[in-house]
Amino acid sequence: MLNESTVLTVDKLQIAYEGDQVISDLSFTVNKGEILIILGPNGAGKTTLLRALQGLLPYQGLVSWNAQKISYLPPQEFLQRHNLPPLTVKEFYSFKTSDLNSAKSMMTEIGLDENILSHQFSELSTGQFQRMLVGWALLDNPDVLILDEPTSGIDIGGEETIYSLLHKFWKNQNLTILLVTHDLNVVWEYATQVICLNKQQMCMGKPDEVLTPEQLKKLYGTGVKFYKHQHR
């Protein structure tokens, strides 16, 4: 079952939280270089799934990684920005690398000014903070990047920047990306694979093939507008 190009194999995954079955009978594989988007309504178990995949939660079933280094960005609400010691971005980056130059060049890569390095967390805007985190996650050259709603709380312009930034890294560094989002636009634009999740697997495959109006209606209930970009 395991071949060279498989990064993640999940088989019959079950996750229970305080007696409630949050996810049942989930199986899928992710290949190298894919952008897998996990789509689903609130409370569908998306964050739970990402956390279990990294061993942050107990689960039953098989989760097997074939990757050297996995980086994770938790959702905004799991990240504390205030009531912290006065940590600067530079010091935060130095938790991962002692090489100041690589921190500096990462700032350029993520489109932030170098002097942001000497700013404290509380001095960054939400957009800057999120970009800074993406840079931090990529600092030690992971082969897999896992992100949970990386653009929540960011305005539309900033959202665009984060995704094009991720797309750039994905193209240049042979990354595999696992991403949770609500945003169907992002799915159409970037996903190579999509999983629809509502406590159990509702669909899995290429976005074009599986995201039919009927499927989305089933996933979200009524009231979701079906819209799709024309690919250029």
Binding site: L56, L73, F78, Q80, P85, P86, T88, E91, S118, E123
Partner: protein
Amino acid sequence: MSTEILLALILSGTVGAIAGYLGSLMLSKRMSLMGGALGHLTLPGVALALLYDFDVSLGATLFLALGVLIIWLLEQKTRLHLEALTAVVFSTSLATAFLFLPKKEFDIALLGDVSKISPVTVFITVIIALLLFFTVKKIYSSMVLASISSDLAQTSGVNLKLNNTLYLICIAVTVALGVRIVGGLMTAALLAIPACTAKNISSNLKQYTIISTIAGSLACVLGVIAYAILDIPAGPLIIIASALLFLVSVFKQHTE
């Protein structure tokens, strides 16, 4: 200067420094309450030590261990929060201490006592403080990362369980050392105020930890000097000195 005061200065300055250093990690709401709760937990131990004439910090340590064990057991048995359980246990412990604490020892237990400190006590305290320093230094960046996000820390390879355990042990030992100089009621201030002072006037983590350590130590030294002059218990003087330093920092803080 008498030897007694010199020993008191060395001991208090050392304990103040380590409390300031460790306290700089304890800025979160949850942790700053912890220092106080643990201070109260030590009181029956301090009372026993005063009654049977053994070392105050030793008595404090015994009851800290007992208290933490009880809280841990209750946490397994009930579904109450750690904070709630700590509140139950520490107030019980405070009440118990008052049951058998002799009236004339009240001051010492509640306000601390820096007189009659032996050179051996100073020596042992300095050694323990050094051990604490290196332990805190080792876990410092992991704990900062964990305070941003425990998930982020864990996925970056931090052994959270081990670090949290070491962290709690360091807090408990520091509280046990602090009880001698400021008493069981004011240990929270020993840990919390220097960090607040430092946060006001520092612009990065390195500055912050250094200033917090120095502010903690300086407050203790100033407190003991005031005690030598005024002959009022050093405990309250130390905390007041620390509060004054904090006040200075409020006016010195750079506005953005």
